[in-house]
Structure formats: structure tokens, C-alpha cells
Symmetry: C2
Subunit: 274 residues, 2 copies
Amino acid sequence: MTVHPFDAAISLAPQPDGSALGATSPAYWNMIGPYGGITAAVVTQAVMQHPQRLGEPLALTINYAAAVTVGPFRVRAQPARTNRSTQHWRVELVQDDGAGGESVSTTASLVTATRRDSFADSDVPMPAVPRPGEIARVDRSASGVAWLEQYDIRPVAGDIPTRWDGQIADSTSQLWMRDHPPRPLDFPALAALADLFFPRVWLRRALRVPVGTVSMTVYFHADDAALAATGAGHLLGQARGQGFRHGYFDHSGQLWNEAGLLLATTHQVVYFKG
Amino acid sequence: MTVHPFDAAISLAPQPDGSALGATSPAYWNMIGPYGGITAAVVTQAVMQHPQRLGEPLALTINYAAAVTVGPFRVRAQPARTNRSTQHWRVELVQDDGAGGESVSTTASLVTATRRDSFADSDVPMPAVPRPGEIARVDRSASGVAWLEQYDIRPVAGDIPTRWDGQIADSTSQLWMRDHPPRPLDFPALAALADLFFPRVWLRRALRVPVGTVSMTVYFHADDAALAATGAGHLLGQARGQGFRHGYFDHSGQLWNEAGLLLATTHQVVYFKG
């Protein structure tokens, strides 16, 4: 049986001190480091497989402090506080600094929680859009960006501009997305998909400027049952820019499964040049 | 000269080990702990006054792991990584656990950044609403909740229901807000104002159920100049619920100054009962 590239990328070997060892995956390489989503998945996985974990992911914040470099890394996930229904995790990803010490590339917090039945509804219903079967998977192999090959992306609206003419447009995007090849959804994969939106500033300005995510937050509304019901189906992602100022912008987004269930909401703030 | 209650509440005494000591303020007390916004302000202030700080706040995530109890607390703020234009802070608020040890009540991360001129715009223009002078400050002194007295709140739309009849309504709120008495805006005050929205689930259900914020994120779009231009004026806050499920909901919000400049965006996920 072939291991899915996503499972290979988030594979972590537990160490006696409670940390876990992993290594960067060429399949999820971006320009100068791994795809930010795969790092979010690694952070999530470190907590998922930790023997002290209680409950399921509820709120993830990941801060991209520096590019992860090619090779091995260590993830430290520690519960800072455990309550009856929530557990607060501190996570960091470190690498050898080449001088006998460690360099912190990523800091994160993850709140896990036990879920229970409650009032349930959504103020962000899934927009009416064509089904994933009606839209072709976009071919971005010519981009030379490895991680894009690991996703099935079907743009609905607000795709990356094809003419970089500096025209200012609306910054809302909608796209169907899933792992490629398809893989049953779990929390690490959902965390990774939350980072799939290309930079809003590219759309807003129709200008391809250098960018880098500084911090991303994901709130998980899905429980295990919702993940199982979603399976390897597509998710509809929607994101919209908010403020663009002083070299940083933020966006706010939502992810639904094909049945229209809100699985996660996400926000991020991104550095941009120009 | 009288010290503003906000300044008293966020006053921190630096310690030789780099931590800082503070104490809870009766003026900002909520039901079973301090107003979450004042804790966000304390976390922000700990970084603002830290001698190693570079740049201004860009992205704050605060995780409310447990209620802060009445009395003294210690804030530890440490830079996990310092880059040329960003600095990644880990912050925690701890209290004596009564058994010779420490209890973590709050974990947080704050990214500070140097700002520079860039393309600037907003995809979330301030909605057209009546000016603050046209709306009376709401009197919530009868609520018996101390921290509400420290704010000038002028509801525009989506105020706390006056009839708790279980009617499901839209969960968007708009309100003018500022410190009371007025105080020139700074980063800690902006962080505190970001938590001012009453729980969306109360509005959505017109039902007053027990709630508690689990995690809040604030992205600061304001720089020092924008804060100075805002002064002691009102901010317009807008928040809207997203998902409500399994005992948790999240909302997404924006804060503008009277001139319509987007000062911050904010998100939070909240526990609710029922």
C-alpha cells in the first residue's frame, strides 16, 4: 500500500522527552520553505498523536516566525493547562541552528475540546455555486511549485488573475479543494486546506508581489462525525481580504463540505511587499 | 492627576527575571474573573513595555485557559524569534496555585512588526451608520457587571435583546465604543475594545446562556499615527457570528475609527451552554 504524500509529510516519530521528530517533504515545498498549510498540519498532528491529548482540535493559531529549512525538525507540543472540557497546548517547531543550538521557526497554540450536542446553526451559509464535478481541476504544474500538485483545486470565482495588469478587483475567492490524490479528511488535512487561498493582495491588485503568511488562525467546527461524513469529498473554500496597510493584509475565510456543513473558519495576516 | 482605571488595570511592575507583576482590577471585573478584554490589554502591555520589543503589535492571539482569580498575577513575555521586520512573542499569565506552584490562566502570542508605506486599502469599508453623537450611551449600571461601567457603548444595530423570547435573529451587531471616561487610544486599549462584543449566541438565540471566550485573535491595522489620529474618539465595532455547533461558536469583527479607517479586525471562539 502506498503512503499518501500528506501522511508522509506529517509523519512524526515520538521521542522519550515528549517531543517528536519529522522532516520536510519535497512534495509540499513552496518557494523558500514548506507550504504553510503543511506546517499547520504538522503542528496539529503533533497534538493529535500526543498521549496526553484530550478532545479534538477547536482553535489553532500558528505563527510563521521563520522559514523551515530543508531537513529534519523537532516539534514540541505541551499542554499548558488541562480543564474538564478544554486543553490548551503550546507547540513549537525547532531546527538545529548549525551552531549547536536550536532555532525556532514556528510557534503555535492549539486548544482541544470535548464536543457535545448543543444548539447548532450557521450565519455563514454556503454560497450557491456550481458543483465540483462541473468545474475542471486547474493545472498549475507549469508553476513549478511542488505543493500545488498535492491539491485538487477547482476555482469557482476570484481565481488568480491571468492578466497581471494592476487592475484593482474585489478580493473574494471561492474554490473547491481537496487533497490530490483524494484522502479522507482529518484535522491535520483540514488545517492544511485552510491555508490554500492564494494571497488576497494578488487578486486585489492583480499584481504578483512577494508575500509571506505571518500568522494563521483556524477555528474547527467539525467533529469526528462531520469529518467522516465529508470523507474524501471536496470542500468549498471562500476567503475575502479585509485591511491592506503598511505592508500587511488580513483575510477571513470559511470552509464547507459538499453537503454545505461549515467545517472551519480561518483568518490570516500576511506580509506583502510593494 | 487621577490615573485612568484602564492605566491602573494594566500597570505592570518589571521584575529582574524579565517577567512583570500586576494585579486584577475590581473596575474591570466580569462575572467569575476579569473582563477578557482587560487581560488581552495586560498581555499587550507586557510586550509594549518590554525592553527587547521591536516594532508595534500586528497579530495577537490570546487563549483563556482558566479564569484569572482576584489578586496578583505574573506576566511572562519572551521573544521566541526576532527577525528584521517581525518579532514573535510568547506570553503567559500565571498565578500562585496555593500549593507552592504556578497555575497558567492565559497563554498568548503576539507578533510585533515594523510598519512601512505600502499599497493601502480596505475590502471592509465602514458601514453607513448614525454618528456617535446621535446615539445615547447605554446605561448598563443595573447589570451589576463592573467592567461595563468602564466603557461608553452606543448600540447602532443588533443590541442585546430586550425580550429573551428565544426568537432566532441575525447575529450582526454594530456599536460605537470607547473607554469611559475617554482616554487616547493605544494598542492595549484597542486589544481590549476588540473583546467588547456581547456573545453572538445571545443575539442569535435571544437566549442568555452561560458563555466564555476560549480564544481571541486581533489583527492590528493601525500604526501609531492612526492611533494618534483616533485620539479619544469613538470606534465603530461590527461583529457577526459564523458557526454555532457542539457548544462553541465563533465570530468575525472589525473596528474602525470615526473617520472610517480600519484599525483592527478580530475573531474569537466562545464556549456556550445549551
